[in-house]
Amino acid sequence: MAATGAALYLFVTVHLLGNLQVFLGPDAINHYAAALKSVPEILWGARLGLLACVGLHILTTVQLARINNKARPTAYAKKANSASTAASRTMYLSGPTIAAFIVYHLLHLTVGSAHPQFSETDVYSNMVFGFRVWWVSAAYIIAMALLCTHLRHGVQSMFQSLGFNHPKHSPRIQKFANAVGILYFAGFASMPLAALTGILPPFFERL
C-alpha cells in the first residue's frame, strides 16, 4: 500500500505540473499532450503501470479492511477519538470517492465520452469548455480536496509503514507533506476556477 501510494503520489505530482501548462496558453499544453501521446509504447506502458498501481492499492486496502473488520467484531457502545486526524479516519471515504472521480475524469478529459465538445488534439479547449460547466468544476474541486486529505495521511503513513520515523525528521516531513497537500489542492483547483472566472478564455477569444 505504501509502495503503490508513493508511485501514485509521484504521478499526481507530474500530472499537476504537466497540466499547469494550461496557463502558458493553448500551444504549450497541446504540444505537451501531443508529446505524451507520440510514443504509444511509453504512453500505454505508463497507463498500464498506473492501472496496476491503482489496482494493487485497492486490493491491499480491501485485504487490510477485511483483517481489521475481523479484529473487532463487537463495536464499542461509546468510542472517542483522541489523537487521529480527520484525514486519517476518512481514508475509506476519500479513497473510493477519488476512484469514482478518476473514472469520471478519464471519461471527461481522456476518452471524451462525458464531454460535450471533446477534441482529440485540443486539450486546452477540452479543459476550458469542460470546466465552464459549474457543477463539473465543483466536482473536480471537491475531488481534489479529498485527494489532498488522502495524501495528508498517506504521506505520513507511508514513511511510518516503511519504518522511517525519527523525532527530528518526522515532524518536518509531516509539515512539508501538509504544505505540499495545500499547494497541490491550490494547483489543481486553480484550473477549473480559472476557466469558470474567465481567466482562462476560450482559444478564439485569445486572438
Partner: protein, 261 residues
Amino acid sequence: MKPASMNLTLHVWRQANAAAPGRMERYDAPNVSEDMSFLEMLDVVNEQLISDGKEPIAFEHDCREGICGSCGFMVNGVAHGPQKGTTICQLHMRHFKDGEELFLEPWRATAFPVLKDLVVDRAAFDRIIAAGGYVSVRTGSAPDGNAISVPKEAADIAMDAAACIGCGACVAACPNAAAALFTGAKISHLGTLPQGQAERSRRALRMVEQLSLEQFGSCTNIGECVAACPKQIPLEMIARMNRDHLKAAWTSRGEHRSGGE
C-alpha cells in the same frame, strides 16, 4: 476539609462468562469522594452490590500503582479514562463532575475475548512475547557488570520502549484493534540494546508473525494508541518494528521458524 463528593451514573458492560451474551447495565454511584481512585469508586459500588445480594462488577487490578498493567477498561470510549498517561487505577474521581454519566466497557478485540464483565483474556500478548520477546543468555554465574557497553542513546530508547506494561490500551483504542504499539515497544526495547542484536531479525519475524496469528488488526498509522497509552510509548516504536521486520523479511534465509510442533 472534607473532600467534595459527587453522584455518578454508571453504565457497565455485564457478561457472566466468555460464552454468555453481555449487555450494558445502569448503576448509581452515590457520594463518590473526589479523592477516590476510579477502582476505589468501583469497590464501593461493588460493596453495595454484594450487600444487595447481587454479583459484583468484575474488573482486573493488582498493584494499583500504575505499573503492573493489570487494570484497564474503557471510560466513555477512552482507554483508561480521560487522564493522559495514566492507568485507570491512578485516575482519581476529581477529574469527573457531579451528575456525570460514565460508560464502562471492556477492551474489545477478537484477540482479547471477554472473560467476565470488564475482564478480558490478554494471553495473546504472552504468546507474542513467547514468540520472540526475549534475549537468550547463559545462565549460571552472574556476568560482570558493564561488560557490554550500551550507548546512552540506545539505553534511552530501550528504556522508553521498556516502559510498556502490556495493559492492552493500545489495542482497545485502535479502530483496527491492532497491537502494533505493544509489539513495536517490545521489539524496540530489545532491538536497540547490544544484548538484543543476536536474535534481532528472528525476533521481528516471529513476533510480527504471531501478531497476525492472534487475529489482531493491521496498523493504519493513525496514532490513537499513543494517545491512550498510559506509558506514552511513541509511534516511533511502530516504525522501528516495521524497519526491523522489513529488513529481516528481505534478508531472511527462512530459518526463523521454530522447529517441531
